[in-house]
Symmetry: none
Subunit: 139 residues, 4 copies
DNA sequence: GTGGTCTAGACCACG
DNA sequence: GTGGTCTAGACCACG
């Protein structure tokens, strides 16, 4: 992997550590990050994003906990070869629907129509270049 | 309106004051709460939910700011007769995108694909029977 | 911006949290506070003014809601780079009329004539050198 | 005095007792209420306005304190023959400017121009039918 | 009775 | 370090 870019938006609702983790997950999902690829070092990424090193460390720790990346003592962090599925499908669906509920309620409260909501979701997903997964992968 | 029930989950991620606000908004949206209906008094609701009165007051204050309910000096809070359009279109879009960001981040975190996300949104919108706005009304 | 001073009058009619908010708004309006300038931390300001931290937090939260300042997670509050137009025209008019009502009631209570009231408003506006908006800017 | 009408707006910022007091003061100022004219009884006005009798009593008490009306034991309240000036001119100006300051700050914050502010004040004063005082009266 | 403001202090998330 | 939420309780204005 050559050029994998992180970008974070501070001040938004989403915590920085979560944004970092999500971008790694997304990279793995889209294939931008392949198994074995190294992640930037904690310090390097913290410097590049001008954020606290603890924040990067927290993001990486969560990725390790979830089996997305693996830590090689003294070498750094690498994309895991095969990802463990941490949450059960039921649990994942439960959390998805909870998040969805919050989003749709806010949108309805803001007086947006179903079409406007759908459109905004489509745009956002296109932005993320979230592609359907190749074949028989996780999820 | 006869029996409007509040129930809160403590220990969950969502703050109590927000849970209260959301339930009132939802009640208004579904018609369970009609314009002019009184809300429980701050102290009464605090007692009933076994939480602090300040927490209820904070929830109610936010509802007033958003034009959902109105305060009648010395009498308490009542569902607003006609919901005002408090926010500018730019602000409403900003809030929509912020809510969307949080939702999509959670979905990505949970490893759902773009198709799965879109599908879940469609289902949810269908559930709500959210129709295009008839005229100058809110959906 | 070097030295921005807050001073509050306790025992007056105006709540402390509002006095703080007003002083920030005024500072922003006059340019004493420039976009990006940090506000004192909640705890620091509370200590300096010898008031409770919650009171400062309440003031800051209102400023965030109104788009005057922005919160940077873990870093504190900063003057917003460009003031958003948060409220709809209807809402802004509603607030103007409410403020006007309070003012005129006080003036009538104090037995001032219509001419005296008008004159005092003219003087005040002249003082502020409030000019018609140049372009898409705020006055 | 035959038909003197009170109307109060509940839910606004101004307390009801203040609205009642202001309308009496205004009536006296415009001549709608002449010295010796009776005010509605506390109970009658409370019934008519569908408010608490304590609220009317509080308004009347303040008017008596300020020398606008006089209480005749067992008969009720009457417009005072000659009004005492309660506050010094300096004090009245101080309070006027304080109220004005709050109003103008709010208006400026809401992005209204000087012209818009002046216009809104003129309209409001016209609504109140606040006329210049006849001759060498108070104020 | 109603809500509004403020305090002192705890505990948590994020950086 | 930063802010966010919540509690328990006081005191006040308004009705």
């Amino acid at each position: 992997m050559a050029a994998f870019h992180f970008n974070i938006t501070t001040g938004a609702g989403t915590p920085i550590y979560r944004q970092i983790g999500d971008q790694v997950r997304l990279g793995v999902a889209t294939g931008a990050l392949a198994p074995g690829d190294p992640l930037p070092s904690v310090r390097a990424l913290a410097d590049r994003l001008v954020i606290n090193a603890n924040t990067v460390a927290k993001a990486y720790a969560e990725l390790v906990r979830d089996g997305v990346v693996e830590s090689q003592q003294g070498l750094g962090f690498f994309v895991a070869s095969k990802k463990r599925q941490v949450y059960s499908r039921a649990e994942r669906l439960r959390r998805l629907h909870q998040a969805l509920e919050a989003f749709v309620h806010e949108a309805v409260f803001l007086d947006f129509t179903a079409d406007e909501i759908r459109e905004s979701v489509d745009e956002k997903l296109a932005d993320l270049e979230l592609q359907p997964k190749p074949a028989g992968e996780k999820a």
